[in-house]
Structure formats: structure tokens, C-alpha cells
Amino acid sequence: MRALFVLALQQILGGKKIWILGIFLSLPILLLLLILAASGFDFPEDESVDVEGLSMSTFLYVMYPQSLCILASLLYGASLLAGEIEDKTLTYLFTRAMPRWKVLLGKYLATAASLSVLTVLSMTVAFLICGLPVGWHVWLALAVTTVGACFAFTSVFCLLGLFFPRRALPVGLMYAVVVEGLLSVVPAVVNEFTVSYYLRSIGWHLADLPIPEEAVEELEREMLPLLAGSDLTGAAIALGVITVSTLLVSGIVIHRREWPLTEGV
């Protein structure tokens, strides 16, 4: 599986899409620099309770696990196998002595791991530019949710790409906006079927933000059940189940389906 892993890495690093990923990864950093420049580089001075620090933490969460990870996973996850189908290179992978599930797993692991490393690196740079808002435990919360987001979304988009190989990107984008953007904040059971809901729960519990007591009470009473209502263990298990089950369905699809990649009879 090593060769496949290396191939997936080469596809990420050597393909044309790396430029788009580069823009995605540098966008939050540039945005942050702009914000700081506008505010006269007034960094938060300590790691205790401060509105600025909390704002920065929220900004980084929205930028990374909630946005950039979705876009990066869409860019590479949707074409994980759909790209091979489009380019007709799947023939080479599916006519070798390697089970199809291994092809899927190898490509998935390499893609999700590479995206995780690159996004965590970008997030760390942004975090340092912010002047370590609130503390390192917030960095840990952001890093864990970033990695979780990359693995979960890559799996989801891979499955979507298999069902809609020729329209993987628009369908994935629609899913990102409608399901992960809108439905994940709908106060109904439906939000519990989204990746974002569990990521927010994990992020909230791990970050342990130093918010004043009265604000926490109000948050937990009104906002939290809607935005991040699951406990840490439950959220981690749910995220794992979504990731593994979508990957499993992809595995079943590629195992059972025929792949006539050329039109000719």
C-alpha cells in the first residue's frame, strides 16, 4: 500500500490543485494580518479571559474546521476516486493485484493525513500570529477538530464523488452549504446527522474557554444544545461512526460496481 500512499501524496503535492490549496491555506493568515493591521497590531497581552482572545479563537475555529477543512476536503476528497474515473487512470488501479478496498483506503489515508498536516500547520501559523489567544489548550482543540474535520469530510466527499463522478465538486459544494452550513445549525434532530455539529461539540469541550459563569450558563441553556449539544465522548464516537460508515459505503460501492471507463464496445 506504500506505493499507493506515495502516489496520493504526489497527486496532492504535484497536481495543479496544490495552488488552490495554497490559496485556501494562506487565506486565513492573510485575513488575520489584515484584521490585525486594521486594529494596529494590538495583540492580546495575556492568556486570561479577554474578549479579543475569545474572538480570535472563534475566528480560527470558523476559518479552519468549519470552512477551510471543508473546502480542502472537497477539493481532494471529491476527486479521490472520482478524479481517477474522470482521468481514466482508475483502470490501472483496478486491474492490479490489489483489492479495491485497499486502493480506497490507501488513497483516503494519504489524502486525509496530508490535508490534516497542511491545515494544522497553517492554523498554527495563524494561531501564533494571533499571539496564542487564550492558551495552548485552544490550539489543541483547534488541531484536534481540524484533523477530525479533514478525515470526516474527506470520507464524506469521497462517497459523494463516487455517486456523482462528473459533478463531484458542485454536488459537494451544495452538500457543504446546505447540510454542513445550514442543517447543522437547525434546531432539530437533523443537525445531529452532520459532521459540523460533532466537530463543534468536540471543539467546545476541548477548548474549555474561560468564559464568565453567567455567560456560560446562558450559552449552555440557549445556544449550546443547538450548536454543540453532544458530550465529548459521544461526539468523538459519532464523528468516527460517520467517517468509517461513509468510507465503508464507498468501499462497498467500488467493490460491487463495474467501472467501464471507455465508451467503446
Binding site: D87, F94, W259, L261, V265
Partner: protein
Amino acid sequence: MAPLLECRSLTKLYGVIIGVNTLSLELEPGVHGLLGPNGAGKSTLIKLITGQLRPTEGSIRVFGEDPWNNASVAKRVGYCPEHDAFWRFLTAHQFVKTLAGISGMSARDAADAAERTLVRVGAKEYLHKPISTFSKGMRQRTKLAQALVHDPDLLILDEPLSGTDPVGRHELMDIIQDVGQEGKSVIVSSHVMHEVQAMTDRFLLIYGGRVLAAGDVLEIRRLMYEIPHRIRIVCNAPRQLASHLAGLESVDGVQIEGEELSVTTREPRDLFALLPSLTAKTGVTIREMGSDDESLDAIFEYLVGDGI
């Protein structure tokens, strides 16, 4: 020992379109040419052999096993697809090495085997150049190398010579023949008979998803001989030549269109032998001459027309 390929009433449907139609055959090891015009079902049969497709009905066995999702069969098969697909950002060596690795070789063995195979197919000069810069001929060699790199027992080549220049074509034919001489089996598909004929004398003629004929070159030539040939002759005095040709026993019919004669014959060799003396006797000058019936399509049309 199990035959190389065994099909029993093999049928593959794409909705209402028939790819392969109740095809039954048994191939022994060796080099086989799979011949048929475009749309005959060659590619479908190859995809069934390589396990990319499942039969709708009937069965297919390669080395005695069902090839669908079967790693042990895939390990023994090398496949060179017709379509021009690559990870173009890779070099030829990286491409072949990657696929050798996916076939189960260690990184070192894969690198060595990739280099050795690329040198063998004549790609030594562009071993480390990106595929995106390759000509069609260079890409064909690279595709052949990836099919050979894991030393398969059966090599399946789908139109391997398309797009190659005459020298490259000759070299590729030599390589394919060498593979056969090493005791490996080869199934090479083409719609150009003389190309396949240069590599093997064992043919499988396929048309409309069915095997029309299977056998050696003599049998196929016999079929060709029975086909009425149409020979086109452009000359300065068509009517004069037509009157002489019509009287010949070997000529079935003559048609005149301007300066062009269309002669139908079952004995083209006899006609070609007679023409020089005929033109000398009549003083007719032949400017152009050719046969429209030498294409494979004509043979198939003839066979299908006869209900074979």
C-alpha cells in the same frame, strides 16, 4: 492444466446494447490476435478478461478462475489499455514504478523492474522525463512497460500500435513477439489485420459481440479468398478495358464510372497476373489501381452477410 481463457455463453449487456453475445471459446496459451472492426466487442471482451466488467450471463475463466475482483488473476495479467490515460505529473519511471509497487513489489524491486522494463520497451532516453511532455509513441511504450513490469503470464494489449510511427510500430511488434517467445501468452486486439498478422498467426475474429472465426492465418486467408473482391482501376480508355475484362473467366462483373472501372472478382490474383499483358495488348494506360475490399470490415461484412 486450466486453459488460458475459457468463456461459456458469455454475454455482456449495456442496457439494451449488446457488448458480447453468447460467446463461447477456449484459448490455449500463446499469442492471439483479437480482430474486429470498431464496436465489434473487443474492448468489452478485454474488460471482462481483466475483471473490470462482470458477465450479464454465462461465465469467463482466466487461468481457471473468475477474474472479477480477483487479485490472484490480476497478479498474472498485464493490461495495456487503449485509452491514453496517465498521471501526467509523474515521470515514466515513477509511473511504472508506482504500478509495480501496487502490484505488490517492494520499493527497491519496483524501481529496478521499472527501469529494466522501460529500457526493454525502448524508453531509456526519457526514463526520468515527465509524461506530460511525451509524444503518443512514447506514451504507448510507457503503457506497455507498466503492463510488463510485474512479469505477467498473460499480456493483454488493446490497440497497442495506434498512434505509433512506422519505426516505433516495428519495435513494439518485436517486443510483443519476444514476450510470446519467452513462453508468455499475449492477447492483442486490433482492427488492422496486417498489424496483428506481423505478431501472430492465431486469430480470433469478433463481430457483433460474437466470435465469427478462430484459427490460424491460413483459415482466415481462406475466408478472405471466398469474398468477391472489388478492384478499382482508373485508366485512359475504360470502355475498351471493360470489354476485354468482361470476357475473362475470373471476372464476375464490371462497372464504369467516368474514367474509373469497378471490377468484381473472386480470383484477384489471376486478374492481377493478366492485367500487364492485357494493357500491353490493348494499349490502355492504367493510372491508378487498388482494392477496396482488403479491409477487415469487408471480411466481417461478408461473414455476417452469409449468416455465419
